[in-house]
Symmetry: C2
Subunit: 582 residues, 2 copies
């Protein structure tokens, strides 16, 4: 079925996230009308131009032949339309041709891009990362000659991190960068899993590459960041001769077939340094924060798309007698078990959307807030929420896509129906941009302990404040009670993971991240219900129902989740590989 842009839900999530307060602080002329107009226009573009290509992207996919990659049918034209519509440059600095909108607005637009066509969305998403890297760390030449082309979308960008032996562990990178004696470098090595590493949709591709100088220190402190364009760029900024780099193949993947995932060979490729020597990993991490949040949004997006298709099917498909329908055969939507499943999908989507948009607004506030104290507080909370936004939302993407298949019954397993594609596409998001286990370790290892736990404490205090507001509200009393039990469980678990460093905390990392997401997601739903309280329309009234359902089906499990994660790692440490073998 076709995609419908979830404008009102996105607008609500932005509102809850505090986006309206940014208006006037942004360096663009952002006002409420602009926000609404941008969301509407993005909705129309994604519905009309990108969604219709999602299927052919899956079925035909990108192709590799004779050392070149051809984008899936229609994708190159769609990319040019995307660029022509200005969608590539929403949040970029106007100095380099951007429109200076907020990051949060851009995220909202990208949610629709990913929902309409996740494989397509990866191309501009990776370009965003390159824009960010050059904006923060690029040389003047790079800013003048390269950045505007990336902002406009004439050229695209990639991130070349992973090598066969270096996935989660970037310290193991071996790609070599040798000075060419003229201020530049020559890169030699192999990179894998390079998203949109080659294609025919833009006139040049700017590869950002992590590599190591011959005399660099070992480990992460010897990694530098380089820019290696597909076609060498002359001093007028024109692309010319081909560089000594090429795609060796593309992967045959479970999903996102429209996104070419390349093995890239650098064979003495000419490259320029970006940022400081041996500080490449830190530069890359700046980009990765944004990319991780974007991937979280992909989780929301694919869940939204899967939900929409399941919801539509629940109205079209008729089967049996249902307690909530007088018709026979009744639409699936009349069956309580189906409706519960749909409501749970929807509630989790709104919870994850709330977390992602909140993190996006925090990224803006970290730049735009009037005082340094506010900016620092926003940045700290952004850093705390980023691994949760990434991992929790992408897990939900998989879960909701799976429920979407289930609601279709036998039809869900037939590829023509489309539900199966979402189930396949969704599966990559918990893996790339830092596997969800890495996110969980980042959360307990680097984030929860920031400022001696004060960043998480402040977040929990805000949750308590909402709980106090909800207590007097008869409609949301049960939500307040379960949210309170949930946040207390999170506080207990937080104290425990801070006290228990080492294996105990590492073994608890994933359940802890799940608990944090469950509770913060419940807080988002509670505030969405608060914000729509009193309105009489069906949509507004459904928000309180979603918050209550989530409180019963998700938040009620929080105390048990906290108890379990505090068991410690002794059993895990003692078990042997052989004991688990068949």
């Amino acid at each position: 079925m076709s995609f419908r842009a979830p404008i009102r839900d996105l607008a609500l999530a932005l509102k809850i996230a505090g986006h309206p307060a940014l208006i006037g602080q942004s360096f663009s002329e952002l006002d409420e009308d602009t926000v609404a107009a941008v969301l509407q226009a993005a909705g129309a573009f994604t519905q009309e131009e990108l969604a219709p290509l999602n299927r052919v992207g899956d079925q035909v996919g990108a192709k590799y032949a004779n050392g070149k990659v051809t984008a899936a049918p229609g994708f190159a034209d769609a990319y040019r339309a995307f660029v022509a519509g200005g969608w590539n440059s929403l949040s970029a600095d106007p100095e380099y041709g951007g429109q200076g909108l907020t990051k949060a607005m851009e995220l909202a637009v990208f949610e629709m891009v990913h929902a309409s066509n996740m494989a397509f969305g990866l191309c501009p998403m990776l370009t965003q990362g390159a824009i960010e890297a050059l904006h923060l760390h690029g040389t003047e030449r790079q800013k003048q000659l390269v950045l505007p082309r990336l902002v406009s979308g004439e050229w695209t960008g990639t991130m070349n991190l992973t090598e066969p032996q270096a996935g989660s562990d970037l310290a193991a990178i071996t790609t070599r960068a040798e000075p060419d004696g003229q201020g530049g470098y020559r890169l030699t090595g192999q990179k894998i899993f390079i998203t949109w590493g080659d294609h025919d949709a833009a006139e040049n591709i700017c590869h950002l590459v992590l590599a190591r100088l011959p005399d660099a220190p070992p480990g992460v402190k010897g990694i530098s960041l380089f820019l290696a364009p597909k076609y060498l760029i002359d001093d007028a900024g024109q692309p010319g001769a081909a560089n000594d780099l090429r795609p060796a193949s593309i992967e045959h993947k479970l999903g996102i077939h429209g996104s070419p995932t390349c093995v890239m060979l650098f064979e003495g490729a000419r490259a320029e340094l970006v940022g400081e020597l041996n500080n490449g990993l830190a530069h890359m991490f700046v980009m990765m924060n944004a990319a991780r949040l974007q991937v979280g949004v992909q989780g929301v997006a694919i869940a939204e798309r899967a939900f929409q298709q399941a919801l539509a099917f629940s109205q079209e498909r008729r089967q049996g007698r249902a307690v909530w329908s007088a018709e026979y055969p009744a639409p699936l939507f009349g069956h309580p078990d189906v409706r519960r499943s749909l409501m749970l999908m929807k509630a989790k989507i709104e919870a994850a959307r709330g977390i992602c948009m909140t993190t996006g607004v925090l990224a803006d506030r970290a730049r735009l807030a009037p005082s340094e104290a506010e900016r620092n507080a926003a940045r700290a909370r952004q850093e705390l929420l980023t691994p949760i936004a990434k991992a929790w939302s992408t897990d939900i993407g998989v879960e909701v896509a799976s429920l979407g298949v289930q609601i279709h019954g036998g039809m869900g397993f037939i590829e023509e129906t489309g539900a199966a594609q979402y189930y396949r596409d969704a599966r990559i998001a918990p893996i790339y941009e830092g596997a969800n286990g890495i996110q969980a370790i980042d959360l307990i290892g680097r984030k929860v302990g920031m400022e001696n736990g004060a960043v998480m404490d402040a977040l929990c205090a805000d949750v308590h404040a909402t709980i106090e507001e909800l207590r007097g509200d008869a409609e949301l009393k049960s939500v307040a009670e379960r949210l309170e039990a949930g946040v207390r469980a999170l506080e207990r678990a937080t104290d425990w993971v801070i006290e228990n460093k080492g294996p105990n905390a590492l073994a608890a990392a994933t359940p802890y991240l799940e608990l944090a997401g469950d509770v913060i997601g419940g807080w988002m739903l509670a505030r969405q219900a608060q914000a729509t309280a009193g309105a009489a329309d069906d949509w507004s009234r459904s928000k309180a129902a979603l918050a209550r359902l989530y409180a019963g089906q998700v938040l009620a499990g929080a105390p048990g989740l906290a108890d379990g994660l505090m068991d410690g790692a002794a059993d895990l440490e003692a078990v042997t590989f052989e004991a688990l073998e068949a």
Copy 2:
């Protein structure tokens, strides 16, 4: 990677399930040596003959051309080897050529068949259903001429239930059966999703078909069961002329590509009645109990296969520094988060295996137990556990296959790795043989209320008895405590679903089934730990660790799950379709 038959885990699950007590009661000469020998031989056959075809079955699959289906490469030969090895006839009545082993033994063997090659396993699994139907309800002619060929495996069987408008609701079946005036019938209609509906691996196919006589009452009370062979069977039992039925196409599916899923056209096909007129649904339900349990076992099987591959990868793949390894790079198995994930997968597999094998032994006891009271009690508990075995185990199949992909990181998303196939294959099991939502409704609607709740009460009483035994055991004290909280939560929830008929109970059906599976699964693990207590080997000692891990990560959530499901359905009833639309 190759499949390893999980013999010791299967033997333990059979022991816990009470299989040893059946020895001597079975109508075959079953003894402990036979049990061990059969499991060993089945393990060898599945490892050597079936597992190597799993990949080509996925990549090439079954093919449809010119009105005929060709099995995937190697599958027809493998089927003949399967039949020649006697694997098709394990539990069938020796009077018709079977070996008279227990159903539970057969299930254990089929778990290995499905794990090695789920798409292949469906062919003999469907034949089992046809054997069961003819054994119970066939005419003398059918028993003499058809049954022995199905038992030997020379011919295969299918179940033709679903029609485009009749999936979960079999009352909507419209396939017509018209008397031919000579004691037979002519079938006309279209059936969909017919597993192994056509192929070239056996010399005849016996279709069991639900259809309706022209003057039959409407609804489920007008459905009869027919036998329509692909090739008509003469009075000497020889297949001759082709019948007027044919596959119209095969489906393009998410997974199990080696299993041809046919649209079947019956164009005046000659058929014989099986059982009583208008009682076909009841006859079919007898088969479906067995088939549902088999599908539950498929869930265990695909989870086992996915787990094995992830476990092997966790030893081969090295990445980063790990707290539980002195090596750099360390094997993934040295990382607490990876090990926790693997242990949780393993614990859930053993819990589900325990439930399925217990249900299998109950099916045997329902036939073989010495007294009628024992047989009735066994049958009632078998009926109670069947929807749980089916739904809970297949949900775990999907969950574990998804975790298996995750442990592989980026490699998991690449089809060549193999983990993705399990993720795709696993997804069908929660859907077919009664979607899991239907199982949940069966559980709360027909099963939990049996004998005024006494069947579930007796099960919970057995769980309490185990808890009392565990209390004195220092190793399993925490398991006892969490199992007790879990079973009390289940008891509360049981009372509630029995009291709350209608929408409230229907809305709670899926969470209730999940709760029941979580608690009964925890009971299985506790008893596996009891049974291996005291032994010093790694495998035995891991059982207590698995029970504790599961108690913390799963059972600890039971009280919250119970609380949430008792919220009632008012919010679901009130929400409108439009409120959920984008």
